[in-house]
């Protein structure tokens, strides 16, 4: 039997989902091996249970909370797709302001019609089996994870720094060009995309596990940031790094 796969989106830009639709050829190959049973953007077929549920976006309303619990209960494997779902992502920026202020800014006088919660990663509410990181996630990694799961094995998601991939590709380190890069403490897997184009890494894949944050703050402050700015840079894609960020 082909595994039943569903894709859901929560609060996010849907950039990750769209991204997925950009590789039609490979998609046909995947579809040969799986049954897409629910995918809001691509079809409206609904099923009760899923072998694999891909979830995009962060959780930021009470309604989202109920929905994610419901999906979790109906899914064997739940996969967080993209930075929003994995670590709160850009959405989590609103957490830096009091909720009321954020609500007012976004919805103006209608704010009371839109109940809101701090934007949190899926893992704040339900067990997440695997994470496909990045903002947006890369196609290569999505394919790698899907093929691994179809092979019946756990996908290998690197837990080392972007610097590793930079070195393997012989990129010039952007620190040498006066940029400030989050690569030394950011999880690899993107093949050092940004530094490969001469850009600094903004850390969209979240931190490596067991990061040495103090050492990173020292690197950043040595390059001219204040401690506060350094902290903000590390928090951009890491709700867990923020005070009161995670339950």
């Amino acid at each position: 039997m082909k595994p039943k796969v569903a894709v859901f989106d929560f609060t996010g830009c849907e950039g990750c989902e769209l991204n997925k639709l950009n590789f039609e050829n490979e998609l046909l190959d995947i579809i040969a091996h799986i049954d897409f049973v629910e995918w809001r953007e691509a079809m409206d077929d609904k099923a009760d249970e899923y072998d694999i549920a891909f979830i995009e976006g962060s959780i930021s309303t009470p309604e989202c909370v109920d929905r994610i619990h419901d999906i979790r209960n109906r899914s064997k494997i739940l996969i967080a797709l993209g930075a929003c779902a994995v670590c709160g992502g850009m959405n989590a920026m609103k957490n830096q302001k009091p909720l009321e202020v954020a609500r007012e800014e976004v919805y103006g006088k209608d704010k009371d019609l839109f109940p809101t919660l701090p934007a949190l990663p899926l893992s704040a509410y339900v067990k997440v089996d695997f994470e496909i990181r990045g903002c947006p996630m890369t196609q290569q990694e999505f394919l790698r994870v899907v093929t691994a799961l179809l092979m019946g094995k756990n996908p290998i998601i690197p837990d080392y720094a972007v610097c590793v991939e930079c070195k393997l590709k012989e990129n010039e380190c952007v620190y040498g060009n006066g940029m400030i890069c989050m690569g030394p403490i950011t999880r690899a897997g993107c093949d050092a995309q940004c530094p490969s184009f001469g850009q600094y890494c903004i850390g969209c894949r979240g931190l490596v596990s067991h990061p040495n944050k103090e050492a990173m703050i020292e690197i950043l402050t040595n390059h001219g940031l204040s401690v506060d700015e350094a902290d903000k840079k590390m928090s951009l894609f890491n709700t867990e790094n923020r005070e009161g960020g995670l339950k």
Binding site: A161, K169, N171, E172, H210, I219, N222
Partner: protein
């Protein structure tokens, strides 16, 4: 010495002469922005005056990524990988990098010689070049004299007017066929022996130092500054550890078993199923890395396994310096010796 003088103007023709015979790899800045060894397509792109390449020529014999075998999943069969000899001229190699290759030769020749490395390595021809040490080179301290031509076929000694091209082997001589007259002459070139960075002790003493530095507090102190990014491992010309992964094609019909360079500074390096990590602390990993350069292999071979290129230091985002670490160990050891002697005499008194 045997060789010839090469004026500045004849450098490009010299490179072209080499390239007309065989593939040439040389330092280049255009491809990656950093200095990297690349195949020479245009002799004018070659950068001969450089501090250090991001990765040494090791990458041609032990590539960053390599497919070990390809398999088919439906019938469990596999295809052997044809390993091709690199068969090229490596031009503009600094002598510490060639010494590093000779050290890798040892690692890949001994106990289970590895075909992948050795076959690619065979037939490589090296044209060395002298360099001006910057604040990070310390090769002289690990026994690699700046004009050491050991292992090279040809060597370019820099002078004001160009290069003294020294011929060291028969294959080197053959490369110059049709290029110019080789003669026995007194090649004069300025000897660049001023290193700003140096270790306080030779390997013979470091052996003692390292035997007594396992519990030195510096490992913890450095670990506080280190982010564990692995840059030091990945840029080191004598590091050779790798990981192996199976990658399956999207059709689930076939795939490949690939290896890529790994690093002992990375936390997952010693992780086993169930989550145990044998060197969980950064301090332990830092010590392992430095001990690999000055003790574990060195105790067997009598040579440091570090060539003093300075890569791990200049490329470290946290500015951790291998020279500072080793020198601190040496001075702590010396202090301890003085203390011990003091105790000895007081016992004797």
């Amino acid at each position: 010495m045997k060789g010839m003088f090469l004026s500045k103007e004849s450098v490009v023709p010299f490179i072209e002469h080499l390239a007309s015979q065989q593939k040439v790899f040389a330092p280049n800045k255009k491809v990656h922005g950093s200095i990297t060894f690349e195949e020479v397509n245009d002799a004018n792109d070659v950068v001969l005056n450089y501090a250090r390449a991001l990765l040494s020529v090791k990458k041609y014999f032990l590539p960053q990524r390599e497919t070990l075998l390809k398999y088919k999943l439906d019938d469990n069969s596999f295809e052997k990988q044809e390993i091709e000899q690199v068969n090229a001229i490596f031009l503009g190699v600094h002598n510490y990098d060639l010494q590093a290759v000779l050290k890798l030769d040892y690692n890949f020749k001994n106990n289970n010689p590895e075909k992948n490395y050795l076959k690619r390595r065979e037939g490589a021809v090296f044209v060395g070049i002298s360099y001006e040490p910057d604040n990070f080179h310390f090769s002289q301290s690990v026994g690699i004299d700046p004009h050491n031509t050991n292992g090279f076929d040809l060597f370019l000694h820099k002078t004001e007017e160009g290069f003294v091209l020294e011929v060291l082997t028969k294959s080197g001589e053959k490369l110059l066929d049709g290029f110019g007259e080789i003669s026995e002459f007194q090649g004069e070139y300025p000897r660049n022996e001023n290193f700003n960075a140096s270790l306080y002790a030779p390997q013979s003493k470091l052996k003692e130092v390292f035997a007594n530095s396992y519990d030195n507090p510096i490992w913890k102190e450095m670990a506080e500054k280190c982010v564990g990014c692995g840059t030091c491992n990945l840029t080191c010309p004598t590091c050779f550890c790798f990981n192996v992964e199976d990658n399956v094609g999207i059709t689930l019909k076939d795939g490949s078993r690939d290896r890529h360079l790994d690093g002992c500074m990375l936390r997952g390096f010693t992780e086993v199923a169930g989550g145990e990590i044998f060197r969980d602390e950064l301090a332990g990993r830092m010590r392992h890395r430095i001990y690999r350069k000055f003790k574990y292999i060195s105790d067997i071979t009598g040579e440091p396994w570090c060539v003093g290129c300075g890569r791990c230091t200049i490329f470290c985002p946290a500015g951790i310096s291998i020279v500072d670490i080793v020198n601190r160990l040496v001075s702590d050891y010396d202090k301890q010796q003085v203390l011990n002697e003091g105790q000895m005499t007081s016992v004797l008194d």
